[in-house]
């Protein structure tokens, strides 16, 4: 109400500097976006379209050259349509276009990271409980819920832009030949590692004042409020943040009532952990998780 009132009369003080929440799927980006959307002077949209899934995959694969025009055509109209508040959105694929976005709108980035083992577990539970379409080529048999079975049966591969976005090894890379025989856990580990490495590399080329990294492995209300202030948001209160974190927004339980069955990484055996670390170990070290 407060926000609507302020928008109507154009009285809300705003920085006019948009922000983007980026991060690998299942890292907590939707949770932080919903919290940010509670701000008095700003919005945070969750995955507005077009979200450049296909272009982001091409970028990760090194097959997309100049992309300023593509990014501008997709993003600028959204920002322009929201000129009385701090514009924000969360979109994982935009992590591949940080340079273009910065040029376009002098924005800020919130890069949400989470322990790769937790992300992999969450991705597999998400796959089994809700969508059934994470790395559709994986041979591993999945124990899908009825909801996930129906979802995957009704989504033809040519319309599955989310799964297309997830990276696959390129010819010449060590995993290229082995890929078709990898488990879903290994494929998800590759996704997490490739995505985070790409964004970390990209952000390292940007001025420090443009981005903030938020660790969502054990989300901290203080860190989230600091991130909100960093992007110019006001009125994100500690009690509200705590209450929203307690709700575990966009968790499998929040979405379906189910608790996924994939074991916590504390319960992985040596072989499983070894496979994960072989693929994602260097990124785990880079982010300080091991």
């Amino acid at each position: 109400m407060k926000k609507a009132f302020g928008r109507f009369f154009g009285k809300i003080r705003h920085s006019n500097r948009p922000y983007f929440v980026i991060g690998c799927h299942r890292s907590g980006t939707t949770s932080i976006a919903r919290i940010f959307d509670e701000a008095e002077n700003g919005v945070c949209y969750v995955e507005p379209v077009p979200n450049l899934n296909c272009e982001a995959r091409e970028r990760m694969d090194g097959q997309l050259g100049e992309a300023t025009g593509i990014v501008q055509a997709a993003i600028e109209p959204r920002i322009s349509a929201c000129d009385t508040t701090v514009y924000g959105e969360k979109n994982a694929p935009l992590g591949m276009f940080t340079k273009e976005l910065l040029q376009l709108c002098d924005c800020r980035f919130i890069f949400v990271v989470r322990d790769g083992r937790d992300v992999v577990r969450s991705l597999i539970n998400w796959h089994e409980g809700l969508f059934g379409s994470i790395y559709r080529e994986c041979k591993e048999t999945s124990n899908l819920t009825e909801q996930a079975k129906a979802a995957v049966a009704n989504l033809p591969v040519e319309l599955d832009y989310s799964d297309y976005f997830r990276p696959r090894p390129l010819p010449g890379e060590p995993l290229f030949e082995q890929w078709e025989n990898l488990s879903r856990m290994e494929m998800c580990a590759f996704f997490w590692s490739r995505y985070n490495d790409y964004v970390l590399d990209a952000l390292s080329g940007l001025p420090d004042e443009c981005y903030r990294i938020v660790d969502y492995s054990i989300p901290s209300p203080v860190e989230i409020m600091e991130a909100a202030r960093f992007v110019g948001l006001e009125g994100v209160e500690a009690t509200k943040v705590r209450s929203m974190l307690d709700k575990k927004i966009n968790s499998l339980k929040d979405r379906t009532g189910f608790i996924g069955g994939y074991p916590h990484w504390h319960d992985w055996d040596d072989e499983q952990m070894g496979k994960f670390m072989t693929i994602a170990g260097s990124t785990m070290k880079r982010l300080g998780y091991v």
Binding site: C54, E137, P156, V157, E158
Partner: protein
């Protein structure tokens, strides 16, 4: 024209007749005709049982080996090479076969990957997985009379238990799944109602979450005397309602595709209205020793087929080791055998705006 090729009496209606009355009379006629034509054939009964996945995997491996023994097999990388060529290129739009007739954007050619799963569903699934990895659509038609699917036991069809997990794997990849229809085999060789088999197997596939909206006929008319798609109403040669096979009268035009939820037949056949007994006999008896790899047979079947022509521009079939057949219906040009490089080069050189169907039997890329 003989009795059997006359038009359906139900269509010879009086224009003054009430529409409801006409509808009732048409249905009554069709039901009587169906019962009359199907008399003498045993009902189709199917049960689940048979072989598990390990056993069927071994059967498919044997199919692959025997094809290798004949010098006709290719490494799977050939399939990957072809898919990679078309994937995400500005010039091509890759579509499932169900969307073949969708309008083409300017300056694009459309390509459909049709997979006839005759003998090796294991490599078929591998192909579907590869397409999923590349985010590219493909259409896969499971053959309900194939050894991997099931077998007849004292007149009862036993579906292999392995099929449920194979279909689940295909569904997971997001490919199109359809039925490779072979009702004439059941009619001609086992005196079983093949039309019921088609209906029942489509229903069974749908019960496994396969969104079946199309079929593709197995084999060619040379085998039994009719195309398998002639069991569908309105798809028979010259409107015939049956044909003779091994001394039996086999019915045609029994199934209504629409009422079965089928939107297309994958050959997109455009039937000839003219049926001439002599032309038919000459066409159907032409079976050289090297069969589908005979240039004369290919010309006879693809270019000069008196029964039907196809509703798209190009057929491309993989028929041997790095050996493709290209039939370009727009120009009448046929090429066989051509290498993968030549085939792809030909498609690249042609002006966009065409619709090509690339047919692959996965056992040919199973080495």
């Amino acid at each position: 024209m003989s009795e059997e090729h006359r038009g359906d009496p139900a269509t010879l209606s009086n224009p003054n007749e009430l529409p409801l009355l006409r509808l009732f009379r048409d249905r009554l006629y069709r039901n009587i005709k169906k019962r009359f034509l199907l008399r003498g054939f045993r009902p189709y009964r199917a049960v689940n049982g048979g072989y598990d996945r390990a056993a069927i995997d071994a059967v498919c491996a044997q199919v692959s080996e025997s094809l290798s023994g004949l010098g006709l097999n290719n490494p799977f990388s050939l399939y990957q090479q072809v898919v990679d060529f078309f994937a995400h290129r500005n010039r091509y739009i890759v579509r499932p076969l169900r969307d073949l007739k969708e309008p083409l954007p300017p300056h694009y050619a459309s390509v459909c990957f049709r997979h006839d799963l005759d003998g090796d569903i294991v490599t078929g699934i591998r192909a579907a997985c590869y397409l999923a990895r590349q985010g590219v659509p493909g259409s896969f038609y499971v053959l309900h009379t194939s050894g991997y699917y099931g077998y007849l036991d004292n007149g009862t069809f036993v579906r292999n238990v392995a099929m449920e997990s194979y279909i689940a794997d295909l569904v997971a990849t997001g490919c199109e799944i359809g039925l490779h229809t072979d009702p004439l085999y059941l009619f001609c060789k086992h005196d079983i109602n093949g039309c019921s088999a088609v209906k029942e197997e489509i229903a069974w596939l749908r019960s496994l979450d396969a969104n079946v909206c199309g079929s593709v006929a197995h084999n060619s008319a040379h085998l039994f005397g009719a195309e398998n798609f002639e069991i569908f109403r309105g798809r028979s040669w010259g409107g015939r309602h049956g044909f003779e096979c091994d001394g039996k009268r086999v019915p045609l035009q029994i199934i209504d595709e629409k009422s079965l939820g089928l939107r297309y037949e994958g050959n997109y056949p455009i039937q000839s209205d003219d049926f001439d007994t002599e032309v038919a006999a000459e066409f159907l008896s032409f079976l050289p020793d090297d069969g589908i790899r005979s240039p004369a047979w290919q010309k006879n079947y693809f270019m000069e087929n008196p029964m039907f022509r196809r509703g798209y521009d190009m057929d491309i079939w993989l028929l041997g080791t790095d050996a493709w057949m290209v039939a370009d219906y727009r120009t009448g040009k046929m090429m066989w055998p051509v290498t993968t490089e030549t085939m792809l080069g030909y498609l690249d050189e042609e002006e966009p705006g065409y619709r090509a169907v690339i047919s692959i039997h996965p056992e040919y890329v199973s080495k």
